[in-house]
């Protein structure tokens, strides 16, 4: 049974070339169109079954938040429509509309009423809200005295106690401390167990892998993939690469390391699965002969943590002196990395002179995509008996 049906939804905004907010300007410009059309969504079709947890993946500006706002009924689609079965709660911002001068208690009642909940309904879950938010007696303090963590906890506590059939969540889990995030996540899992429908909007692949049954990738206002989380995350990263293709590569003054090419070995695919081989071709264009070249390779994760580092010396491989342009192939036979994008840095030294000929930070990167549910950096072969 469908819980959410997005039927051919398009949304375009008129962006005023000069914002017109006054009557005078409106009259002066009458008939002249001082705006451009911006398409935030184009012909989006999504069917979500009751009880499913679906992630909407997309970069900033891809249209994913517009889609969520259309689903929530905050924005009206230019074309098409969104159908929802049952009660919907959208968590676009925690504590939206909290008034700083009112107490936590007063704000809970008003906030819940905005979601269509009556006083009696709130009375019933009020204690749960206070318990979940861990606010204790602070619930009767004005919200302006709350820390940002308390504020967010209260906002989330209200939302998850609204008893929705469909819950829309927009990146809000990215806030709060780790303990509270874990608590939110366990509440989300409980929601899933209760057969509620959840739609997550995020650009965090880890969340999608952890909680979603299915994911939809939005890029440039269109759905580019609707499928299993693993596939979606892969597609999402490929589109990220597409977007960042023009990113300038860090250049040092001596561009001896002229270029690096990553060969994934499956034709068009731009990623490998854990354990698959990977080849990097390093083009070296020496400006003067290098007598005893040593090539160092450093692999990091996205946060900059060192994952692996070695040089040709350490591998016991000696490179022949380089006098003219040549390519050096580096093959990782089994890449036991689990998931993510891994920037590669290279360093070329001449052992004879002890001089660093050229170094390149994050000159390239490669992609490992796991189809499984495991998380982390390295792929361990695990068996449970």
């Amino acid at each position: 049974m469908l819980a959410v049906h997005v039927v051919d939804v398009s949304k375009s905004f008129r962006i005023a070339t000069d914002p017109v907010n006054s009557l005078k300007e409106r009259i002066l410009r009458l008939g002249r169109s001082g705006h451009v059309e911006f398409h935030a969504l184009r012909n989006v079709n999504i069917e979500i079954d009751q009880g499913q947890t679906v992630g909407i993946l997309g970069h900033n500006g891809s249209g994913k938040s517009t889609l969520l706002k259309c689903m929530a009924g905050i924005l009206t689609p230019t074309h098409g429509r969104v159908l929802v079965r049952g009660r919907l709660a959208s968590l676009l911002e925690l504590g939206a509309g909290f008034h700083p001068d009112l107490s936590g208690r007063e704000n809970v009642y008003i906030n819940a009423a905005f979601y269509g909940m009556g006083r009696k309904g709130i009375d019933r879950v009020f204690d749960d809200i206070v318990e979940f938010s861990e606010l204790g007696q602070f619930i009767d303090e004005p919200v302006k005295h709350y820390s940002s963590g308390m504020y967010v906890r209260l906002g989330f506590a209200v939302a998850v106690n609204l008893d929705p059939d469909v819950l829309l969540v927009d990146e809000v889990l990215a806030v709060g401390d780790e303990l509270f995030q874990a608590k939110c996540l366990s509440r989300i899992k409980q929601f899933q167990a209760e057969g509620r429908t959840i739609v997550f909007v995020t650009h965090d692949a880890a969340t999608v892998r952890q909680v979603c049954d299915r994911a939809v990738v939005i890029d440039h206002a269109e759905v580019v993939l609707d499928g299993a989380p693993g596939d979606a995350i892969r597609t999402f990263r490929e589109h990220l690469h597409g977007n960042l293709a023009e990113r300038p590569v860090l250049t040092s003054d001596r561009s001896v390391i002229a270029g690096v090419r990553v060969e994934y070995g499956h034709g068009e695919q731009r990623h490998i699965a854990p354990g698959e081989p990977l080849r990097m071709i390093v083009d070296i264009h020496p400006d003067q002969p290098i007598a005893e070249p040593v090539l160092g390779i450093e692999i990091n994760d996205r946060r900059g943590n060192l994952v692996f580092s070695v040089d040709t010396d350490g591998l016991g491989a000696s490179l022949a002196p380089i006098e003219a342009a040549r390519a050096v192939a580096v093959t990782i036979r089994r890449t036991w990395l689990l998931d993510g994008e891994f920037p590669v840095s290279l360093k070329l030294t001449d052992r004879a002179s002890g001089e660093v000929v050229d170094w390149r930070e994050a000159v390239t990167s490669f992609e490992v995509t796991s189809a499984g549910r495991a998380e982390g950096t390295v792929a361990l072969d695990v068996v449970v008996e």
Binding site: S22, P77, V82, L83, A113, V125
Partner: protein, 299 residues
């Protein structure tokens, strides 16, 4: 903790999340959210009197203070007629209801922009809550005024008293309709709130509050225009009903104040005004609904 054994009760049908509604559906939605409306009214009052020692007593002090000022000023100027301050307040109380509800309703959506962009709820509750807040004020001020009438043993006219709920209802329909028209206008052009201040000022002087209806009607007659022309202003029948019942006379010391008619005549003019305002209400709901479609993105 939600009951895990009990699966969410899911409504049978798929409903569209947004789009145009009929005026009736729109009204039904507002009624469904009546508790939100009540909470917003309460919030407006709580926030206003937070951290003030006298709290809502300030609302009640205002008419008493005005009464003292008007009594003093008109005594010194030797203007007006007997108990002129009471006459002014009879009209002024209900006028304050109209003007303050319109002024606050106009900015009700623009000042809650963050909320409108983040949560789905019938946006019409925002301007309506402003009218509700003004209504609570009106009751407080009227209570204070009633005490004054009692203490000064002012002779109110009980024969006309039963008309007051009708007059108040008419005022509320008019305010609600105008509130629903003005609030979205202000989203599209912020000039609305400035323009409204001027309109309210002009409207105040076009309504017989500081002067008496009969005097204005006489003047119009002298210009060859029927005095009843004044009743086109929908605030006029409302104000006149309050004056007739609370001031309690249609003439004082030879000065004609109000037309010499029975309660049924007042009921008549109120009924006509109500019907006109109900028509306006329908238009307002349609306009609001039309504006609602692009409200969140225009803000």
């Amino acid at each position: 903790m939600a009951d895990i054994a009990h699966p969410p009760a899911v409504a049978a049908e798929l409903r569209p999340m947004s789009g145009r509604r009929t005026a009736a559906a729109h009204l039904a939605e507002i009624v469904r959210y009546r508790e939100l409306l009540a909470m917003l009214v309460r919030k407006e009052l709580t926030v206003r009197y937070k951290n003030s020692a006298l709290g809502f007593l300030w609302s009640m002090l205002q008419p008493l203070f005005l009464l003292v000022v008007y009594t003093a000023v008109f005594a010194i100027l030797r203007a007006g007629f007997a108990r002129f301050a009471i006459w002014v307040l009879c009209g002024l109380l209900v006028w304050t209801l109209i003007s303050s509800s319109l002024v606050t309703a106009t900015v009700s959506i623009t000042s809650n922009a963050a909320l409108v962009g983040k949560v789905k709820f019938p946006r019409a509750v925002l301007p309506l809550a402003s009218v509700g807040g003004a209504l609570v004020h009106f009751f407080l001020q009227t209570a204070a005024f009633a005490v004054v009438l009692l203490v000064t043993r002012h002779p109110v006219d009980w024969e006309y008293m039963w008309l007051l709920p009708f007059a108040l209802l008419t005022a509320l329909i008019m305010c609600a309709a105008l509130a629903l028209l003005l609030a979205p206008c202000n989203v599209y052009a912020r000039d609305t709130m400035h323009l409204l201040e001027l309109i309210v000022l002009g409207w105040f002087w076009a309504t017989p509050i500081l002067y008496q209806y009969e005097r204005a009607a006489d003047w119009l007659q002298a210009q060859g225009i029927a005095g009843g022309f004044l009743l086109i202003n929908p605030a006029t029948p409302i104000v006149m009903t309050f004056q007739r019942a609370l001031y309690g006379a249609d003439e004082v010391g030879g000065v004609a104040l109000l037309p010499d008619h029975g309660p049924l005549w007042y009921l008549g003019i109120l009924s006509i005004t109500s019907v006109v305002c109900l028509g306006l209400m329908y238009v307002a709901l349609r306009v609001f609904d039309r504006a609602d479609v692009n409200l969140a993105e225009t803000l």
